[in-house]
């Protein structure tokens, strides 16, 4: 489902020095698998997810998502692949504040190959318990509800891979637990693989499979 080989990304630091942030010799995730990836702040895990999602272009290496090599594609094709096969749940949810709950989900779908499907968006929102909040704006929702909108949006295009970047970082322990369970259930129901990065051990404990990003990312070993 997801194969990462010799993936490298460097940035130019303010002092002009080129700093390697990501250097992942090999990483794989099977179809429908769920993996917790442990990583501290500043460890490059968000960059790693951005590279997988094609939001950032890698310096070298390959990212293969469901048979398509993201790293050989041009930007527009990466956008297409991301919209078609990847769902992304951000730590800060990144909901569009000027759009209603259902519009946030429908808009996410509209860039994918199936196009906007209001009925499916409604079903997903009902599934995450927001059937009565369809026409509310994000600011009218609680933090937990906003996170559920983000989950519904990430799954709206029936992605093959869901990337979750500290999805419970803004929630209290009780809501974090409920939210995580929901993400995992909905991914399972939709047959999507889940790669969740977090530094929170209570979150990672919920996963059967957990890997340490420091062991995957050779760039971190070089810095230490």
């Amino acid at each position: 489902m997801l194969d990462v080989v010799q993936l490298r990304k460097t940035f130019v630091a303010p002092d002009g020095e080129r700093v390697e942030i990501v250097n992942v010799p090999a990483f794989a995730l099977g179809a429908g698998a769920q993996l917790g990836l442990r990583g501290e702040s500043g460890s490059g895990k968000t960059t790693f997810l951005h590279l997988i999602a094609g939001i950032l272009a890698a310096d070298s290496g390959t990212v293969n998502v469901d048979g398509e090599t993201m790293t050989t594609l041009g930007e527009a094709e990466r956008d297409r692949l991301r919209a078609a096969k990847i769902g992304y749940i951000f730590q800060s949810f990144n909901l569009l504040q000027g759009y209603t709950v259902i519009e946030n989900v429908v808009l996410g779908m509209s860039f994918g190959p199936r196009g906007a499907d209001r009925g499916h968006a409604r079903e997903l929102l009902e599934r995450v318990g927001l059937g009565t909040r369809l026409h509310h704006f994000p600011r009218q929702l609680s933090t937990g509800q906003q996170q559920r909108v983000a989950v519904a949006r990430a799954l709206a295009n029936r992605p093959r891979l869901v990337l979750a970047d500290e999805p419970t970082g803004n929630l209290d322990r009780k809501h974090a637990h409920d939210s995580l369970r929901l993400i995992r259930e909905v991914c399972r129901e939709n047959g999507a693989a889940l790669l969740l990065v977090s530094h929170d051990e209570s979150v990672l404990r919920e996963f059967e499979q957990v890997q340490d990003f420091a062991q995957i990312n050779a760039a971190l070993r070089g810095q230490s």
Binding site: I21, G39, S41, G42, S43, G44, K45, T46, T47, H50, A53, I55, L56, E75, A76, D79, R80, R82, A83, A84, Y88, F90, Q91, S92, N94, L95, L96, Q97, G98, Y99, E103, V106, L107, G108, S110, F111, G112, A116, R153, D165, E166
Partner: protein
């Protein structure tokens, strides 16, 4: 549906700046349409306004002044000609055969700013002021020569509140220095003709010639002769004979061409007004650029989110450009309301000053291409912020890198 939804939501999110910007575009569109339509309409209408006459014969001087004074009843008279010249016109076989109607007029008096013109009964009995259209009386009848009776144009009658039976003392000069002794009675009010005739108080010719206090010479003089020709070739012949003989007369023919000269002379005013209108339009387009560009910092996050969801660069570029075009289109549409108000005001001023009726809503291509060009200009104004949207760095904008 994606692009319209993005544009709609963005407009809603920035409703105040959308309204203000669209308002400024509406003013620009209204001004542009008004300048253009009034310019073209007035040129066409004024050039076509001749009250049914082909030519004017008057004292030696400016043809334009003669036409403006005799047909449009503005300006001062270039001077009088003798009644003998009028008789010559009627008796000379060369001219008599060419002329269908020749009506003498005398000017020089007024009533509270409304010009009084002396003429003969034939004007209202026989003359067609436009093809197939003769003067008609809304009330009353034509005046009779040798009486102190008056016929009043529709607009003047309405403004003065006159009806059949109203009486007045003519005042000397167009400025109304003092009242003449004679007391005239309104015996007829004309139907509107949408021409300068509507603004005039008409009395018998000799009434004006012999008005108390006038120079005794006035009895043997007239101000001009309004001429209807049998054929246009006759006009050319009379033009040659009367203008090139170096005499004391001016033969103004054809009236439309002479009026067009007026617009040529004041053509620079048109050009300045048009330039101002386009500058206002450019400023409006600039306001679109500034209003969207200034909000780009706030929009960057939304744009990055859209891009992260799979929106292509060209989609967000198109959304910003589309938003600019929609603001332009909204403004241009509202511009018709501004145009309606401005054009109505201008048309009423033109009518009050000249009697000529402009019809601003008569179809003119500028009514289509003007707003379209303005909307296009606004879309161009959206190019700069659209490029900024195109270049939004998704990863840096969307989340702090960890």
């Amino acid at each position: 549906m994606t692009l319209p939804l993005i544009i709609y939501r963005s407009l809603r999110q920035h409703a105040l700046s959308t309204l203000v910007t669209a308002g400024s575009i509406a003013l620009a569109a209204g001004l542009l349409l008004t300048v253009w339509v009034v310019k073209t309409q007035s040129q066409a209408v004024f050039a076509a306004t001749n009250s049914g006459f082909d030519a004017v014969l008057g004292a030696r001087g400016s043809k334009l002044q003669l036409v403006l004074n005799s047909i449009f009843h503005v300006e001062t008279s270039p001077g009088n000609i003798s009644a003998a010249d009028f008789e010559m016109l009627r008796r000379n076989p060369m001219f008599a055969g060419a002329i269908k109607h020749a009506l003498p007029i005398a000017v020089g008096d007024s009533y509270h700013g409304w010009r009084i013109v002396g003429t003969v009964e034939t004007l209202f009995d026989e003359i067609e002021y436009a093809p197939g259209r003769r003067y008609a009386f809304a009330s009353g009848r034509n005046f009779k020569l040798g009486t102190e009776e008056a016929v009043v144009g529709a607009y003047a009658a309405r403004q003065l509140g006159w009806k059949v039976g109203s009486t007045f003392h003519p005042q000397h000069g167009v400025g109304g220095d003092h009242d003449h002794e004679e007391l005239y009675t309104v015996v007829g009010v004309l139907e509107p003709t949408n021409s300068p005739v509507d603004r005039v108080i008409w009395i018998p010719l000799e009434g004006l010639q012999t008005m108390s206090g006038h120079n005794p010479l006035a009895k043997t003089e007239i101000s001009a002769v309004l001429i209807q020709l049998r054929a246009s070739t006759a006009g050319l012949m009379m033009n040659n004979v009367l203008n090139q003989s170096g005499g004391k007369l001016t033969f103004a023919y054809p009236i439309g061409t002479i009026v067009a000269e007026l617009f040529n002379k004041i053509g620079w005013v048109d050009r300045v007004l048009t330039l101002v209108a386009w500058l206002v339009a450019a400023v409006a387009a600039g306001s679109v650029l500034v209003s969207i560009y200034n909000s780009m910092s706030a929009r960057q996050r939304d744009i990055a989110i859209l891009r992260a969801l799979g929106a292509r660069r060209r989609t967000v570029f198109g959304a910003v450009l589309g938003e600019a075009a929609v603001i332009g289109a909204l403004g241009a549409a509202a511009g018709f309301a501004v145009f309606a108000i401005l054009a109505a005001v201008v048309a009423s001023i033109v009518r009050a000053q000249t009697g000529v009726v402009l019809e601003p809503w008569q179809w003119h291509p500028v009514l289509a291409w003007g707003p379209a060009a303005l909307a296009g200009l606004c879309a161009l104004g959206g190019l700069v912020p659209a490029l900024k949207a195109y270049r939004v760095p998704v990863a840096e904008t969307i989340a702090p890198v960890s």
